[in-house]
Structures are given as C-alpha cells and as structure tokens.
Amino acid sequence: MSERIGFFICHCGINIAYRVRVKEVAEYAATFPGVVVAKDYLFMCSDPGQDLIEKDVKNFDLTRVVVASCSPRMHEKTFRAATQRAGLNPYKAFHMVSVREHSSWVTENEDQATAKAITIVRAGLMRVTNQSALTPSKFSVNPNTLILGGGIAGMQAALDIASSGNKAYLVERQPTVGGHMLQYDKTFPTLDCAACIGTPKMVAVGQEKNVILMTNSEVESVSGFIGNFKVAVNQRSRYVKSNCTGCSDCAKVCPVDFPNEWDVDTKMRKAIYISFPQAVPVRYVIDKKDRGPCVQTCPAGINIQGFVALIKVGKPAEALKLIMEKMPLPGSLGRICPAPCETECRRKEVDNPLAICQLKRFAADSVDWATLPVPTIEVKPESEKVAIIGAGPAGLSAAYFLALKGYHPTIFEKAPFAGGMLRFGIPDYRLPPAILEQEVNYIKRLGVDIQLGAGIGKDRPVGSLFAEGFKAIYLATGAWKSRKMNIPGEDAEGVMHGIDYLNLLNLKKPVKTGKRVVVVGGGDVAIDAAREALRQGAAEVKMVYRRSRDEMPAVKHEIQSAEDEGIKIDLLVNPIAVLTEDGKLTGLRCIKMALGEPDESGRRRPVPVEGSEFDIPCDMMIPAIGQQVNPAFLEGTTGVELTRWGTVAANALTYQTSVPGIFAGGDMFTGPSIAVEAVAAGQQAAISIEKFLLGEELTENRPVKPKGTDWKPIPKKPFVASRTKMPTLPVADRIGNYKEIETGFTVEQAQTEASRCVDCGGCCECKLCLDQCKAGAIDHDMTDKQETIDVGSIIVATGFDPMNPSKMSQYGYGKYRNVFTNIEFERLSNATGPTSGKLRKRDLKDPMKFTDAPKSVAILHCIGSRDQNHHEYCSRTCCMYALKYAHLLKDKCGHDTEIYNFYIDMRCFGKGYEEFYKKVQAEGVKMIRGKVGLITEDANGILTVKGEDTLSNRLVEIQVEMVILCTAMEARPDASDVMRKFGIGIGSDGFFQEEHPKLAPVSTPTSGVFLAGACQGPKDIPDTVAQAKGAAAECLALSSAGVVEVPPMISSIDRDICVGCQLCIGLCAYTAIEFNQYAGISEVNTAICKGCGSCAGACPSGAAKVRHFTDKQIFAEIDGILLN
C-alpha cells in the first residue's frame, strides 16, 4: 500500500519563522515522495492546529504525519494524541522533528537554519514510513505514595495524600520531622511563629493513621516504574523503642554531651536526646557511632569511653563496674598496663592522648575492695568444675569470668602467692602487692578456689585432673624461662637473669646485688630490674640496649622515671662477651651499633659498627632480653602439642589445644606479652570453656570485636586542659625503699582528665540510661531495619542546606564570635533555642555561653547568593527574613537598637511582603544599598563592618556588636545520590530540575516521581506548601486513574534470529532478559524492560531491537540526514 504522508510545520509565533523560512520547508516537503499535503501554521500545538492535523488525516486519507515544531520533549504527547484521535496508531503514524530547539534557536543564519530544517525534516519523513504500530501496556497503579523528606513540604504532601484515604510513607533522615521551618522562630511577613503553625502539622503526621512515619531512615534504592515502585528503606537503629514516653529521665543521667545539630551547635545535648521538645515522634534517640579506637584496641575490650565518661561525672564506682565487665584486675593493670589504647586515642589530634590507664587506676582506687559488692551469680551445680593452672593474669581472668557464669573454677598455683608475673615480675614500687591482693581476694569472693603451692607436673599430671572430676582445664602458666644471650661467659658468677632477679626479690629471698650493675635489654623487665638494683644498694646502674630510644619497648614514663632516679641508658650498644676472672664476672665487652634497614618487625635493624668494641667494668650483669615458656608442667601429660617456638599450640579463636577440653592462654600461648593480653585470653577462654561445657560449637556466636571508623568528629570547642600529669613521689624519697612512686590522681585531676575525652563513639554505652528508663524502652543492641515498600508514586522533598559562610573569610564567620548565620539567629530567637528566645551576644571566650543583648547589629543580605563566586541565583527568602530579623531585634532588644541592613536589591515580591518592608523601614531600620567587603574585630569583640553605599557612592564603616549573615539556600551535598536513586535531573544551580520550568513544575524525567519544596530551588514557605500540594495532587491523580500506560518502546528479541549467545543477558542492567533453555534463545521480560537498548546495541545477530528505535528506523534517519 502506498503511504500518504501529511507534513505540518509550525511558526511557533515567530520563534521558528523568524529564522527558518517555514514556507520553503513546507514546499520542499510537498515534493517529497509520498507527501500528499504540506502545510505551515502559526501555532501547531494550539487547538486549531491540532484540529488541522486531525481534519487533514481524514480529508487526505493520511497514513503518516510528520510535525516540525518544537522539541519532542515538549509536545510529542500532544501530537501523538491528535494523531490517535484521527484514528491512526500514533507510534506508527507520527514523528516529530525539532526545528525550533535544534534549528531556529541555535542557528544564526537564516539560509543555514532553513537548510538544516529541510535536512532534518527529510530525515523525519524517511523515518516515519518505517515505523510500526505499538500499543502501550497498561499497569495498575499502587495507590500509595512515598515521600522523601519530612520538612514542611513532605509533611504537607503526606497529609494531603493521607486525607484521600491512601497511604503516605514519610521517610525522614533526621530523628524528627519538621525540617528547617521548625528551626525558625517567626515567619515573614505575618510574624506567626513557625512552631505555632508547624507543630500542628508535625503532630498530625505523627497521629494520622494513613501516614506511616519513618524517621531516622534513608532510602537505599528504588526500582520499578510509575505506579509500581519498590523502595528499599533503611531505618537506622534508634536504640529506643516506640514505648518511649519522652520523659527525659535518660538524658538526665547521660554523661556525654554533643552540640545539638537542631540548634546548629549553639546548644549542647546528650548522647540520648530528642532534637527539640516538640519533636515528632517524641521518642528519644541514641547517637551511637562505631566504638572508639580505644575500645577497639583494648585487647580485653574494656568500654573505655564509658568508664571515662562516668569518672568525668563523678561516678567512679559505676566506672569500675563497667571496667570489671571485661577485666578483673583494674587496680593492677591500671598501674602497669602499657596502654595500647592510648596510642590510638584521637585526642592526640588535639594535643596528647587521654591518660586512660591512669584513670582506670583511679576508678579502682576509689572503692573499698573489701566491701565491694559481689554481683548476684546464678550458681551452677557443684559438678561444673574447671581446673586452671597458673594464677597469673590469664588464669585469674578465666577463673573470674567462669565464676561470674556460675561455674566452679579451681586455680592451681605452684608459687606461694597468686598474681604470676604481676606479682613476681613487677617491682613493688610500681605495683604494691596489696593492690594485687585485694583484687585476688575479690575474685575469691566470687567463689574461685585458689590453691597455692600446688604445682601441676610430674606428680600430678594435667591429664589426671579430668579424673579428679574437672570437666575442663585451662593452662596458663606463663613464660618464665629467661632467654639466653648466647655470648661467651654467660654463665659466669654475677650474671643473673632479670626475671629471676625480680622473682627472688618479690619472694623476699636473699639476693646479692652488685655495686656496679649492667642491665641488658630495653623492655619493662630490664627497666624494673635496673630500678630494683638501685633500691638494692647498687652504686651505679647502667642499661645497654642495642636499638635506639624510640624502639625501647618499655613504657615511656617508666624509662623517664628510671633516668630520673639516676640510671644511665647506653643506646645502640650490644654485648658480645662476658669478661670473667676465675669464673667471676668482671665486665662486659660491648660493640656499638648503627641502625640499618628495617627488619620484619618494621624496626630498623641494628648492625655492629666494626672496630667499636669497648668494655664496661661491672660486678653484676642482668640480661633481660625476653622470656620463654617452660614446658615442665606438661611432664606426664600426652597429647598437648607445642609449637616450634615452644609455646602451646591452640586455636587462635577458641584457645582449645590439641586435646579437647584443654585450653591454653596467656604468655604460654602467645609467648611473652603484656598482662592485658593475658586477661583478654582468659576472657576468651572462659567463653570457650562455657561453650565446651554446654556442648556448643566453640567457634559459633562468639562476641565480635567492634570495628569501623565512623566516629564523631573531634569537637570544635576550645580545648583548655592538656594531659594531666600523674603525681609522683619526689626522687629523693624513692631510693632505698619500695613506696609506690605514682601516687594517683586526685578526684579533680581525674575529672579534668576524663573530660578531655573527645567521645569518638557518640553514646559511651555506660548504660546508666537503662536503669533510669521506667518504660524499659532502651535497647542498646537494636539493629537497623530494612524494609521494602511498594508505592505507585514518589515525592522527593529533601529541602536545602543553608550555605556555610566560613569559606568567605572576609566576614570572619567561625572566627569572630558575634558573627552569626541566619539559622543560628533563628535558633537564638526561638523559645527552644540556647537562650530561650532572648537575642544575646556570644561570650567571647565560650561560644556556648551568651551574655547580653546587642546594642547595634548589621544584617548582611545575599551572602553567597547573587554572587559569581558562589551561587549566581537569588535565594529568594533572604530579603524578607532579614527584614524580619530587623523587626525582631527592635522588638526584643529595644527600639534604640541600631540596625543596618546591607542589601543589593530589595525583593519583596509576595503577598504582603512589600507592606512588611515599609513597616520595618518605619521602625527606623537603616537600609544601606551595597555589599560589605570586610569585617574586623577588636579586642572587646566590637565588629567593624566596612562596605560601600552605592546610592550615595561612598564607603561606609560602622561599628556593631553583632553581624548576621543571610546565607544562600543551596542544594544538599548528597543531591546527586538522590538524583541517581530516583532518576531525576539536577540543574546547573545544583537543585533538582523540574520537567518544565513553567508547565511541569513538579514532574521529573522519571514518570511517577515528583518534586516539592526547596530541593527544586530556593523558595519560601507559602511556595513550598503550594508546590507540595501540587505534587500530592499529581500522585492522587495517578492513584485515582488506577492504571498507567507505560511507553511501548522496550526491547524485543526476534526468536528466529537469536542464536542464544546470551551476551545481552550480562549487559541488561535490569535483569530483564532470561535464557529460555528449551528454545535456546534469550527472551525479554516486558514488565521489567525499560527500553535502554543496551542489548540492541550489542546484539551480534541483530535479533535484539528496541521498538521504535530499530535499525530500519535509525538507518532511514541517517539516510535522510546524509542524502545530497
């Protein structure tokens, strides 16, 4: 059948015709094969224009229609409808050519524009005859709507939708709805208070049963299409359940404070908080981040931030309780732990790390251990016995945790005292035995049986304990064998290994200390031995260490103390031989070392300097270069395997050895290490042993170590205190005695030190709130909740951010205390703000304090708006709120307050706005037309504002007590994420782009997704609400239509051509293509396909095509364009 084409070109008033000679184009078209009618018309899109087309289709019996006018993105729908009304299938019969956007508007020369129009019209005429009939598929519409953003736009839209009986899912990122509007005080120009008109909306969304409120939530992904979206929402854990009554008892005891975001940091809040008293839902939320680096680093996993916070607020007993959840030896370890936690402490980014270890000691020292209450324990039957070998930190810790669980541990210790290395390896002036003893006694009070002088070994082998009725055994005998130096003369008289020396002294056994003592090594044992020797009467004590000071493994302040006491440390020196006379020590031959390349431990390897040998005369030498495990206790026991380093082999997670039921830990597993590692090992062993006794899988359900680096930022507040120095005994008082050298923090010192914590983890998990909450609403273990919501339409109402003016350094924001932003001023003026609504200046020293009312204020308009360097656009609200501020200042601070408004132009365009402007002017506010160039501050905080007055053409300089910067409204920093998730566009101003600036102000390129409020561009409250209502109307129109037509331009795969290569399946971003195994071909799921054509573009056989964009159709267009 021969085609009969009608061609219609539009003048678009003069928009097309002024440059494209439309008649000439029509004349050309008329000559084109198949064209039976070609006409031009003034406004093709008008009713008569459409009518013209319809009539001509009938009169001329047209089979195809080509319209040349504006962009198809504008009127394709219009003309398709007209063609359809005329009885043709619009996809087959109609094509549109853009001669306006693509020719008349972009081509300067009339001949060229006309020629271009003819070319693209020709392409259209050639394409149209290749088109085929398509029918859009129809889908039913889910009547519910999801609204992203709970500001005034979102709330209004939700309420409108809910009132129709459909459901509105309102997703808000913050813990409360309200948005910026609820942060404000009064609203212009009527001056009704934002809370008075806003809180009823908030309450309504909270109570309306058709509004499903999801606060503290974020949209993760969106799939589906108009009428049938699936939205995945992540409800971030609030840690407070919905039965919270909002009574605020929890916040009263919470020990950690943060600046309240809602008050733009002008006021503090607790870690458990509500943003402001009227928040909806009135449900507290806990600001919890990843556990702090200290907690993550502590081998025992002590809640460091928690106990520090408790000390800060004067609750040392509670602090101790928290510590002892993880560690039974706080006083002992609080004295000797090298505190790996402190190395990670983020306070070091400000000055020095927190004195965590010493605060732990403070907590332990502040209670009476003899009367320290024992927790209630659910005691297990007598038969649940566990044998623990070794009463060192690992053994004590395992016993402690097992006893807390109700088991019956017995510790077998061969020495006459409990404590292991803590007792025998550490001198009394660092860890007085009484301290250790009170902790051991406390462990005994929990029901732990400690048998001293009860060695396990040849006579009572480990394995025999099972026969004695113990159901599990924990090996924790430590590493007591001193490592040899392997140099000649090592066994001479006068050589005594460090650990043996300390051990004997601690046992009060007689030891002969020399006069001139040399200690070899740089670890804690070496330092302790050196300091002991001094106390034992040595005249001279010297240490030699083969690396540099930085590499000394000993605790830094202990090294310092040793030097203070007169011990000399020779660095980069290594002994090579022991000098003897008649088998007696006379000196030590050493060689100087230099630092070479780093070794596998990352430390630079010391290398001997040739020819640098020298001798140190001495009568005693104490090597302290490390210890090893002495496996003697395993005598008579078979099956327990050792590693090649002589330590006991055990599973790194469960600590079970090669024999089921026998566990090992502490130094005997790790080799010599620090006490807290041993405590951690004991803790883990207790978990394993309990699992073993219950018959559970050892590796399952073990507590996980916290990780992550999502921490609170280091606060901006000025830091006053730096690390508190531990008070010590004067050096003169130390020599010759064993008095404890570090005397401990006073209460004030401890509290000051504790207040230095930067609270990395937000909530410190001290759990004080748990006891306070009568409703039992707090759940610290709550986890995020993922939900997928089915809706038919979506409204994006994510709002704006006020610009941060600190980058405009000329205004001194962030530097000068009394330069405020507009939002800060709003909070100041708001009754729930930091000053309860009084307009006050900031204290010059403490930004969280406010003093008296300002006598003079400068209000600067257009900060960041209408500014080439920042945002070219006008933020539309600043003029009006600036006037409002002027009025409020006059009203609240007295009419004699001097107010200067620096403006560029006054834009008072809305209803009642101009009137308001007149009124404020009449109040005596000075209006200066011009920009401010610079603000400076003098010592008294008086601000000098320098600017120009463009009306009188002179420079002005005024002194004021306060400056308010009216900052630009800008797009949210994560707008592009939202854009991608929802398939909407962003304009060059950063705000979301509406489909048409005038005629489709709430639509987006993705059908079914609408915009409302300031996320689309700066606007005031009335405009926002109006737009929200518009968006709601769009959604409701969709819902009440009940069905949607989905464009039929989707992919299809020709069954006869497809070779089943499945290339397309991997390319499809929507997994819309499946392989049909029986037919051996790929098939498109039409409900899922979006018609992007990724498959068609790649199909090697040409079987995959996108309907309406087939090869034939595109080829025809190419032909048309390139025909000469």
Partner: protein, 142 residues
C-alpha cells in the same frame, strides 16, 4: 578549505544530551548547523552499525552524546557505550577513519553551553581534517 562543510551525525541520549540540546536552544546558544541530531533513548543503544552506516553514507564525523558516568537514566548504559566506542574507534581506524572523526562526549541535561562548545569544536576539527575518506566508497556501496 572554506568551501568544505563537514556533515556530522549526532546520536544523543534522550535524558541528558538531547535535553542539553534543547537547553542550548532555549538559551539561544548558536552553534554550526553541521550537526544533525538523532534521538536515541540512551547512549548504550547506539549500535556500531549506526555509526558505520553514517560513515558509509558520507558523514564526516559522528558524535555520540550521553549522560555523565553514574548519571545514566538506565543505570549504566553509558558505560556500555564507552566500551563499545573504544572498540569501534579501533575498527574505524582500519578503514582509514581517524579517531578525531568519532567523538563520545558526556553532556548533562544542564550543560547547554557544553553542548555548544562540543559542536563548535567538532565542526572546527572536521573542517580542518577535510572530507571523510570513506565518502567515495560509501557512495559506491549506497
């Protein structure tokens, strides 16, 4: 040289670059008329056949325009376009088509000025390069 006016076929994705072309129009940014736009839904839809066909039919240059990486309306169609264009460029070289004749550009819906810039640059470049070596051959085949 002054007589030669290159013919450029442009495949623009509906969501970004075609919209940018509309915006260039609304903003009255003029650019050489050499560029003729064919609307496709996504740059990932541009079949190598389309490009070959254009060159064989006598195009002096082909321009593919899509959304910026990450912004494709269809998630990642533009990545597929990018891979395909890279491959095709190599093949075209075999036939004597300089890579300067085949452009892929990311132009967002808001970048009307960028569209004009690309149109200006590409036209100027092709004027410099002269007619496509395939023109003769294309006429023989076509």
């Amino acid at each position: 040289m002054s007589e030669f006016e290159p013919k450029i076929v442009a495949f623009f994705c509906n969501w970004c670059t075609f919209t940018a072309a509309d915006l260039a129009g609304t903003s009255r940014l003029s650019y050489p008329p050499n560029i003729k736009i064919i609307r496709v839904m996504c740059s990932g839809m541009v079949d190598p056949k389309f490009v070959l066909k254009a060159f064989l039919n006598g195009a002096d240059g082909v321009l593919v325009g899509g959304c910026w990486p990450g912004d494709c309306h269809y998630i990642n169609g533009n990545f597929k376009a990018r891979r395909r264009v890279a491959l095709l460029t190599e093949i075209l070289k075999q036939y004597g088509i300089d890579e300067e004749r085949f452009w892929l550009r990311w132009i967002a819906a808001s970048e009307g000025n960028m569209l004009k810039e690309v149109a200006d640059l590409m036209t100027a470049k092709l004027r410099e390069l002269g007619p496509s070596p395939l023109q003769q051959m294309g006429q023989m085949v076509g």
